[in-house]
């Protein structure tokens, strides 16, 4: 199986990283019958708590053992306690009490990940970057898509995700603060690409492959102008060689939808919770474009 490993990054918070990962992942599994793994790397554990009921999540990740924290803790302590099969959560439990979406798997996060960043500096590069790839690289091969939900920063955990990814996806809210952040992010990813090049022989170097606009509203000029400024910025960064020519701004833009917000409290992706909502429709079309882009169909 040729898996696509994609890191969802943005060092700005609240741009819809988790919503994008969870809902694209679920739509890939449900409508495209793809085998998908979501890897939660954020100490806020948002994609884990979106897809798991809190009591079940707490029990599952107790002491961080069956979570992504264990991968980093093992690397820091030179141990091998992480067990992929034990940590894996298969499907999403619906109101029936039975798991649906059997092709959607989750490696949950634990809040203990907060401690990782403090300790990880004991390591010298490039070992830091290779932690995730070394622990999960083989497992990734059994999936069509691996979606890495990164924390809103560009510290070591995110760098490890970028290292193991074939491509980066940047969720984006159309406003100026996101625009300025995106320019720095693009430069940082370009720098990492150079830094990682020597350690990735024969593999595709990480690049920004796609941008996804969320929290979009069609009223007035505001968001259209902000998206236009993003496109102008992408063109400028492309000319400077900071951004790859493959980087694409995907359509449609994900509109603000109360049913998506509500679905977090139901611990379900919107395609299961409210399949008729505009949120589910936007994610369905976006996922189609996503597949076309990463499988080279159009």
């Amino acid at each position: 199986m040729s898996s696509k490993v994609l890191a969802f990054i943005n060092f700005k918070g609240g741009v819809g990283k988790t919503a994008t990962v969870v809902n694209i992942g679920a739509t890939l599994a449900k409508l495209h019958e793809k085998k998908v793994l979501i890897v939660d790397l954020d100490p806020q554990c948002n994609s884990s708590l979106w897809l798991m009921r809190p009591d079940r999540w707490r029990e599952h990740v107790a002491r961080g053992r069956r979570s992504t924290f264990q991968i980093f803790d093992d690397a820091l302590q030179a141990k091998a306690r992480f067990n992929f099969e034990e940590a894996l959560v298969k499907g999403v439990v619906t109101w029936t009490g039975v798991a649906d979406l059997p092709r959607l798997h989750l490696l949950p996060a634990a809040v203990e990940l907060l401690r990782v960043e403090e300790r990880i500096h004991e390591f010298r590069s490039p070992v830091i970057y290779q932690i995730l790839d070394a622990a999960l690289g083989t497992q990734f091969k059994q999936y069509d898509y691996v979606l890495l939900d990164c924390p809103p920063n560009l510290y070591s955990t995110t760098k490890a995700a970028i290292f193991s990814a074939d491509s980066c996806v940047v969720p984006y809210v159309p406003d100026y603060l996101s625009l300025s952040g995106f320019q720095v992010l693009a430069e940082q990813v370009a720098e990492m690409r150079e830094k990682f090049a020597a350690y990735l022989p024969g593999r595709r170097k990480p690049n920004i492959g796609a941008l996804i606009v969320s929290h979009y509203r069609q009223t007035g000029n505001v968001f259209r102008l902000a998206v236009n400024e993003l496109e102008l910025s992408m063109a400028a960064l492309l000319e400077e060689g900071v951004l790859s020519a493959h980087a694409v701004l995907l359509h449609p833009y994900i509109r603000h939808c109360v049913r998506v917000a509500e679905s977090t409290s139901e611990h379900l992706p919107v395609i299961l919770y409210a399949p008729g909502s505009i949120g589910a429709q936007d994610y369905a079309d976006l996922t189609q474009q996503f597949v076309d882009l990463f499988e080279g169909k159009k």
């Binding site: 499907g91 059997p102 100026y176 259209r224 236009n228 399949p275 008729g276 589910a280």
Partner: protein, 211 residues
């Protein structure tokens, strides 16, 4: 619980029952076993029907017709085209829900669920596809930033050289909303304001990289 957990539990129960069956007796246990057997029969029936509809493509067709993509992109025209291409027949219904019912019936009758799934998947994928706008869009965006970098007099000269239609195209491509009643002067003001903002936001206000 997932189906794999259920399978493990049922196998373990089966093994235990087989080993202990000669020791099991009494009315309470018997009633409970009878209840379980009847629930199992119902579950087996549903499982068979689920697997059969999955194999024939019926389940996928049903789930496609209920999908968010269908809600947005399914039209009578598309269903008519589908029936014509797949079954070489014509749809009679004039409303969408009737056409959908007729479509499903015709597909089932001709057992062409697989073709229908392929047809709908492709149609929804095409409908979701958005043209990038091409070189023309890129040129008009570049022009917009250029206009934003000009001093007032140079800007006035550049604007004077363009027709209202050209100005409208620059505005449309660059996200400026206007109406048919928006006159040249107002459109020029809008382009001036937002082109200057874009030039500033994209280039001048660039946050320096930490390195």
């Amino acid at each position: 619980m997932n189906y794999s957990d259920l399978a493990t539990r049922l196998s373990q129960l089966g093994e235990r029952l087989a080993k202990q069956s000669d020791k099991l007796e009494g009315q309470n246990l018997g009633r409970s076993a009878a209840k379980l057997a009847s629930q199992l029969a119902r579950f087996e029936e549903q499982l068979e029907s689920h697997l059969a509809s999955r194999k024939s493509g019926e389940l996928l067709l049903e789930s496609l017709l209920r999908s968010p993509a269908s809600k947005r992109h399914l039209t009578i025209g598309l269903l008519k085209r589908g029936v014509r291409e797949i079954c070489a027949k014509r749809l009679k219904s004039a409303d969408l829900s009737g056409a959908k019912r007729e479509f499903i019936e015709l597909i089932h009758a001709t057992r062409k669920q697989d073709l229908a799934v392929e047809f709908l998947k492709e149609a929804f994928a095409d409908a979701a596809h958005v043209e990038s706008g091409g070189k023309d869009k890129a040129l008009l965006q570049r022009e917009f930033v250029h206009l934003g970098q000009l001093l007032e007099d140079d800007f006035a000269v550049q604007i004077a050289a363009r027709t209202i239609t050209e100005l409208r195209r620059v505005a449309t491509v660059n996200g400026i909303r206007f109406t048919d009643k928006t006159n040249r002067q107002r459109l020029t003001t809008l382009i001036r304001r937002y082109a200057q903002r874009a030039a500033l936001n994209v280039a001048a206000a660039r946050v320096p990289s930490p390195n």
